[in-house]
């Protein structure tokens, strides 16, 4: 069968970065083809070339066997290629209809196009479970629906091949399942889907074939049924990866943190953290599981001193730090915090790595005297941290935003762990992080525990919680639904996360 899309010997450089090295790939029509690889492996570049966003330095693109030149997105669209970008390309104040029509108006006036789009949207909604209110303002829709608008945009333009770049990164597990149903329907209707992701689980769940990219090269293509998660992980990283965390039994010591009847209310007076009590002991990892938005973020904020509790206590080594309501004092007490939102709270994108590596500890004496900051010491410190924690590239003067998510996270974890805390609180330590880096970050967290420190871990990845934690709390709607051991059944935890408590603790 003629491939829907063929890429032949595609090569692309950005300055000194060789983003795609001689990549050849054929995509069968009516299939779902996964492309995996770590961040920076060249997946997105390759797809951007296919979509006309960049031009390849050399190589050929064939659509249904015919060689084509794709110099811009409009060429790609004309050849029936549609793309759903990782960061949505929506005009937020526009309605769904206006967004769908933009660029495909088909005449000088937009009235007829809007009418046509309205009819087409009704049809697509029926055929593909793609219901969206056509008159809703795009920017006000939840991300799951915004993504549907992106898919609708591509289908409205007559896309035969749909490229999705990391589509589940922003979705809840439920939204992700719905997306996969949509993708299967698209496939059943004869469309071709290219799915870019770094999540192995998704690849196994939905694709027919999978291609692995590493450092700009396409290293392998496999039938999904004929491969395993372990093999793909190894191909991606280029070495054997431990997907399972190895750790010994915990030896818990005395209680370090005790949270008593803690309540935090938002601006509308709704209790987002509702009468929560638990304790964390030295030498153990307490994991807090839950679907995103059930009060875990707020709980972290209160413990880290960023938010002040409405009532209740946060007792850290015998002292109520909740009333301090000040992250600097909380840190001074020996608590370190790896925030959930790496980009906004963990570091400052426009700062160089050396500066980001001292945030929150910048006032401490070893880095300077009084108001003076010793630049030499700051850089030397960052260099040492980057060396120890394997941050790549190990360049303290590179802007923080230039590092991949995993390396940014390693830098933040390095900064927090080296403060030698008694308690480390970590939010979503591996969100958007490569599996190679995930392995490393997990190892460091376990190591910290084995050194007798306490760790409070919040993650929406149930696998991560189960593999790292010594005890698991499940939060739902701001309340603790129950506590389970590390061996807890996944289904049971899932029920607790959904707010179903058979035997509320």
């Amino acid at each position: 069968m003629t491939p829907a899309i063929e890429l032949l010997r595609i090569d692309k450089r950005f300055g000194s970065v060789h983003a795609n090295k001689d990549v050849s790939l054929a995509i069968a029509p009516g299939s779902i083809h996964g492309i995996i690889g770590e961040n920076g492996a060249g997946k997105s570049t390759l797809m951007s070339i296919l979509f006309g966003f960049y031009q390849a330095d050399s190589g050929e693109i064939r659509v249904k066997g015919r060689p084509v030149r794709i110099r811009s997105s409009s060429d790609a669209i004309a050849h029936g290629i549609g793309m759903v970008h990782q960061h949505f390309m929506l005009v937020e104040p526009f309605t769904v209809l206006e967004n769908v029509v933009l660029g495909a108006e088909g005449g000088l006036l937009i009235g007829p196009a809007l009418a046509r789009a309205r009819a087409e949207l009704t049809r697509l909604a029926r055929d593909y479970e793609l219901e969206v209110d056509p008159d809703a303002v795009a920017g006000e829709l939840p991300v799951g629906l915004q993504q549907r608008v992106e898919i609708l945009k591509a289908l409205f333009r007559g896309a035969e091949t749909l490229i999705l770049d990391e589509p589940t990164g922003v979705l809840t597990p439920d939204e992700a399942r719905h997306l996969f149903r949509i993708l299967r329907t698209l496939k059943d209707q004869g469309k071709t889907v290219i799915l870019i992701t770094h999540k192995l689980r998704e690849i196994m769940a939905i694709t027919d074939r999978v291609s692995v990219m590493r450092r700009g090269e396409l290293v392998a293509t496999r039938g999904t049924k004929a491969t395993t998660v372990e093999e793909l992980a190894e191909l991606m990283v280029g070495r054997h990866v431990l997907l399972r965390v190895e750790k010994g039994p915990s030896r818990p010591g005395e209680t370090v943190l005790e949270v008593r009847n803690l309540t935090w209310k938002d601006g509308k007076g709704i209790a987002r953290v509702d009468n929560v009590s638990f304790s964390v002991r030295k030498g153990e990892i307490l994991g807090i599981a839950g679907v995103s938005g059930n009060g875990q973020s707020e709980l972290l904020d209160v413990i880290a001193g960023i938010a002040r509790p409405a009532s209740g206590q946060v007792i850290f080594e015998g002292k109520d730090i909740g009333i301090l309501g000040d992250p600097r004092h909380v840190r001074a007490e020996g608590l370190a915090h790896v925030p959930e939102d790496r980009q906004h709270r963990g570091l400052i994108g426009s700062f160089d790595a050396a500066e980001s590596a001292i945030l929150g500890w910048h006032h401490l004496d070893p880095l300077g005297k009084g108001f003076r900051l010793d630049r030499g010491k700051v850089v030397a410190r960052a260099r040492a941290l980057m060396e120890e924690f394997d941050v790549r590239p190990p360049d303290p003067l590179l802007r923080s935003s230039k590092f991949s998510g995993g390396n940014q996270q390693k830098l933040i974890i390095a900064r927090e762990i080296t403060s030698n805390p008694d308690l480390l609180i970590v939010g979503q330590p591996t969100r958007g992080v490569d599996i190679g880096a995930i392995e490393y970050i997990h190892k460091r967290i376990i190591q910290l525990r084995d050194e007798g420190k306490a760790v409070l871990l919040v993650s929406v990845e149930l696998d991560e919680i189960r593999s790292l934690s010594d005890r698991i709390l499940v939060m739902f709607a701001g309340r603790v639904m129950g506590e389970r051991g590390p061996g807890a059944d996944e289904r049971e935890l899932g029920l607790l996360m959904a707010g179903v408590a058979k035997d509320a603790a």
Binding site: S72, I77, M89, V91, E92, E98, L102, L109, I110, K153
Partner: protein
């Protein structure tokens, strides 16, 4: 009665350049190009119109040259903002300073009247249409004349408002233009060239500022004098913000500011209880009102999201 009619007529006259400049700014800024340089473009256009009209004796040639001059400045701004991804505010300020200086220097060199241009004869100006027959209408006649007896450029200005509102809302060009001002990435991935779209917006702004300038020097007045636009471009910008970047509210804002200017002109020499109000104080009113209105009386004003941001593809 007569005073009120005169005030109304003056309001309309003073509003015309504001409307033209404001709509110019609207097109530019809805496409994401901040245009601080409205004032400078208007000023250089006023100078070009008065000079060309004085030399060639035709208001239309004056208008043509005004548009050319303003367009040239607009393209400089476009080049800086779109191709070179420069800071749009800095580029706009540079245009204002350049225009103010250049007009006087060239004027002095060409006409030797200290930066002024020679007084224009009637055929060198855009004069108001006259409808004396309307006086035959009982009672409303004079009032109707107030509304109708303006130059062709004033008609253009008022016609632009519905035209702009319609074009932005209903045409392909308008949709794309609004989109590029909000999220140029979305426009690019939809297969539409961003730079070309933004250049078109900049060109529209240039043409309209040219008309505004020609109106100031060849219709409102009969020669160019230095700094004769007197901050009108900035007032138009204020009106644009005040109007939340929408055409019809922009008309309202410009009429309000025009009214204040008209009052300023009429109230010169007025006195309150024997105390003569200084002219400067009256002239200050529209600007003070602008500050007050912008400082908090208009609620939230939301500029186009990509406004002032150069478009760079990722990487």
């Amino acid at each position: 009665m007569n005073l009120y009619i005169e005030l109304l007529a003056s309001t309309i006259r003073m509003s015309v350049p504001l409307i033209l400049a404001c709509i110019a700014g609207l097109w530019s800024e809805r496409a994401g190009i901040v245009d601080i340089g409205l004032e400078g473009k208007m000023l250089i256009a006023a100078f070009a119109a008065a000079s060309a009209s004085a030399v060639f004796g035709s208001a239309w040639i004056g208008l043509f040259c005004a548009i050319l001059a303003s367009l040239a400045f607009a393209l400089v701004h476009g080049y800086a903002a779109i191709n070179q991804r420069g800071n749009q505010v800095v580029s706009g300020v540079a245009i204002n300073m350049l225009a103010a200086g250049l007009a006087v220097v060239l004027g002095n060199e060409w006409f030797r009247e200290g930066g002024r241009t020679p007084a224009l004869p009637p055929e060198g100006r855009f004069l108001p249409f006259q409808f004396p027959a309307l006086d035959g209408l009982p009672a409303v006649g004079p009032l109707v004349r107030i509304f109708l007896e303006h130059s062709i450029l004033a008609y253009v200005a008022f016609a632009l408002v519905p035209l702009t509102a319609w074009a932005l809302a209903r045409t392909r060009f308008g949709l794309r233009l609004r989109a590029v001002g909000e999220n140029p990435h979305a426009v690019d991935t939809a297969g539409i060239p961003v730079a070309a779209l933004r250049y078109r917006a900049v060109i529209i702004a240039g043409v309209l500022c040219g008309v505004a300038g020609a109106y100031v020097s060849t219709s409102l007045s009969s020669s160019f004098v230095r700094d004769m636009t007197a901050g009108g471009g900035f007032m138009a910008l204020a009106a644009l913000i005040f109007a939340n970047w929408r055409a019809w509210p922009a008309l309202g804002a410009c009429l309000l500011f025009g009214f204040l200017q008209a009052i300023g002109n009429f109230a010169q020499g007025a006195s309150v209880g024997g105390f003569q109000i200084p002219v400067q104080f009256i002239n200050m009113l529209p600007y003070v009102l602008t500050v007050v209105l912008l400082a908090g009386f208009i609620g939230k004003s939301v500029p186009p999201r990509a406004s002032g941001l150069p478009y760079v593809k990722d990487r």
